[in-house]
Amino acid sequence: MMKSRKARVGALALAATMALTAGGVASPAQAKEKKLTIGFVVHVVGNPFIQQIIDAAKMAAKDLGVNIKVTGPAGAEGDAQLTAVQNLAAAGVDGIATSVPSASMVNGLNAVIKSGIPIVQFNGLGEGVNAPYVGEKSTQSGRILGKMVLDKIGGTAAKGKVIVGNCYPGFPVLENRQAGVLESLKKAAGVTVVGPSDVKVDAAANFAAWQGLLAANPDALAMVGLCAPDVESIGKVNKAANNTKTIGAGYDLTAGNLEALANGSAHISLGQTPFIQGYLPVYILVDSIKNKIKINKPGFIDAGTEVVTATSVTEPFKLPALTFKDLQAMATSKTKTRKYYDPVVKGYIKNWKKNLKPVSDESA
């Protein structure tokens, strides 16, 4: 009797150990060498754009010979994300890269920095965090998107409705993009903005929101989203409604978004170089830890903006010209992505200290 009980508890303990160790315990070889370990915390897991950032961070870790621990909450919530950062700090990582979607994370992150663990922010900027930030110039990219949409619907003489959707109202970077888009659209006195409406992050809810918005405004000249799922959703909505009149525009170069551009159901998508947003924070952390460079104050490094339509691709940092097909191939191939960005790794990323600007440049 006792034996069988012991065996059962033992089996359960073994199963739990196997489960807990299944994913990412360092191999014996890694344990022998005292490699640096970098924590990488994203605001949501399971999003194609965020996955591109994670892939780039892992490429950086591989190139630099460091361990990387990637984590993040399943649903975007600042408190859960801050807890993940604090857990990594307690686990003894050497540095942490994190997006900062919430103001409630700021004090907690500064406490981690004060304890001696360097932090680099990416993708979402936390105002007041004493750490550099790698991301796009959010207001400026909004202005670019707004201007491109305006050009497509008739320029400053355009008359009609433009629907604007924000998947995460209150997220500072998205609010900046929104401000930029609205600023550009204002130049056409005849344009009426519908929204900005909350179009949700979840892909299914996002599609439903755009479907509803188009149904309510069938005469809209354009639909402009600010988040990764929007272009794909807008494309599907246009296709389902057999609508060829409404311009679809938004952000990020996920495989789904590029497909929508390719089939003509959406028209413009701005990229924010997920490769740089993933690779550069890891590089900065490793460089600053190894060379004892202090990074405990706010700063901004521009990750650049990519401008993509079905007929043209404009890349930042004087990167080699790309065709739309090249871009589609890169969206699904890590090897091609790494190879393409090699000049950026050897130049812009390596010289990150020269490219560090005041944080106010982010929203200029």
Binding site: L12, L20, G23, V45, T71, T83
Partner: protein, 329 residues
């Protein structure tokens, strides 16, 4: 000792019902600690426990609703709106203590509203709160124009409430933990040592029999909903003090871990029974799993799967111990 002797011993000394889930927690802590010994450092454990304290407090209170056979889907947004209202009033010039009272009072009112609606519409609380959750979220977004509430005035940030909860005042144990443990003692006594608590359990066991026995079921339902709202309001102001800000998304993802903590802790969904201390241990299990996944370095892609497997494991250990206890008694 022979088996019969062991059985005799267990008859004399009845182990608390939370024993099984406590065993599961100890096993989990042991596994993570064995793999990553730094996990067991007391300062780490205390700080990490503090991070999960608010969710634990809500888990402790949702036991009242589960014991009554009800479930509230809106408490995360009650927490959010309470914190937003408290923060806005402080920023507008109200003294910090007044802001705290406003937050807790607002939470209580929202909870009471849930109770009144469920009683007068004769609908289960889960259906009512499907609607009110969105209402509270919407009012919160409107209240601060969908932005974060960040008190920056030194009058607020240097107030003892913010300094104590935010960690500016050094204490051996985080203040928030002490506060939450005291709340748990209060909640335990309320559920298991008062007439109010017995009535809740009676309603959960058999609502019709409770009504026929003269228990004012409608009044009790409203009171329990108001209690859930009040505790969510307390959670909201604690969050504001602990993190120093409230975001539009705060509280939105709390439902699952809080309900999971209560259920893992041993409170059945069917009503009629509940354990406050079990919910605390359940919340700690949820916390240890979250922390363990990070400590061990399980990749984000695998993290969700592993979390699910470990929850199943914890429930499995709990069940094994329960069955053993039942057989022994």
């Amino acid at each position: 000792m022979t088996n019969s002797g062991a059985a005799q011993g267990s008859r004399k000394f009845k182990l608390p019902e939370e024993t099984s889930v406590l065993v599961a927690l100890i096993v989990l802590i042991g596994i993570v600690g064995a793999l990553r010994p730094t996990f067991l450092k007391p300062t780490n454990l205390l700080n990490l426990a503090a991070s999960y304290a608010i969710a634990a407090l809500l888990a402790g209170c949702i036991v009242f609703l589960l014991s009554m056979g009800e479930i509230d889907l809106s408490f995360g947004w009650i927490l959010n709106l309470s914190a937003v209202l408290a923060g806005i009033s402080m920023i507008a010039g109200a003294p910090v203590w007044v802001g705290i009272v406003i937050g807790v009072a607002a939470g209580t009112a929202m909870g009471a509203l849930n109770g009144v609606l469920t009683v007068f519409m004769r609908l289960p609380l889960i259906i009512v709160t499907l609607g009110t959750a969105s209402v509270f979220q919407g009012v919160s977004l409107i209240s601060n124009n969908s932005g974060s509430v960040v008190p920056t005035d030194e009058r607020i940030t240097q107030h003892v409430f913010f300094r104590a909860l935010g960690g500016s005042i050094d204490t051996p144990v985080p203040i928030i933990l002490i506060f939450v443990v005291l709340c748990f003692i209060g909640l335990h006594l309320l559920l298991h040592k008062t007439r109010f608590g017995y009535r809740i359990l009676a309603i959960g066991s058999n609502p019709e029999a409770a009504r026929l026995a003269g228990i004012p079921t409608k009044k009790i339902k409203i009171q329990v909903c108001a209690l859930m709202g009040a505790v969510s309001g307390v959670g909201g102001v604690l969050f504001l003090g602990f993190r120093g800000a409230v975001d539009p998304s705060t509280g939105g993802q709390m439902l699952l871990p809080v309900v999971a903590a209560a259920i893992i802790g041993g409170t059945p969904l069917s009503g009629g029974a509940g354990t406050i201390w079990g919910s605390l241990i359940g919340a700690m299990i949820v916390g240890v799993i979250g922390v363990g996944v990070v400590f061990i370095g399980i990749d984000a892609v695998w993290g969700t799967l592993v979390t699910g497997l470990v929850i199943l494991f914890a429930i499995g250990v709990d069940q094994v111990v329960r069955v053993r206890k039942k057989r022994a008694s």
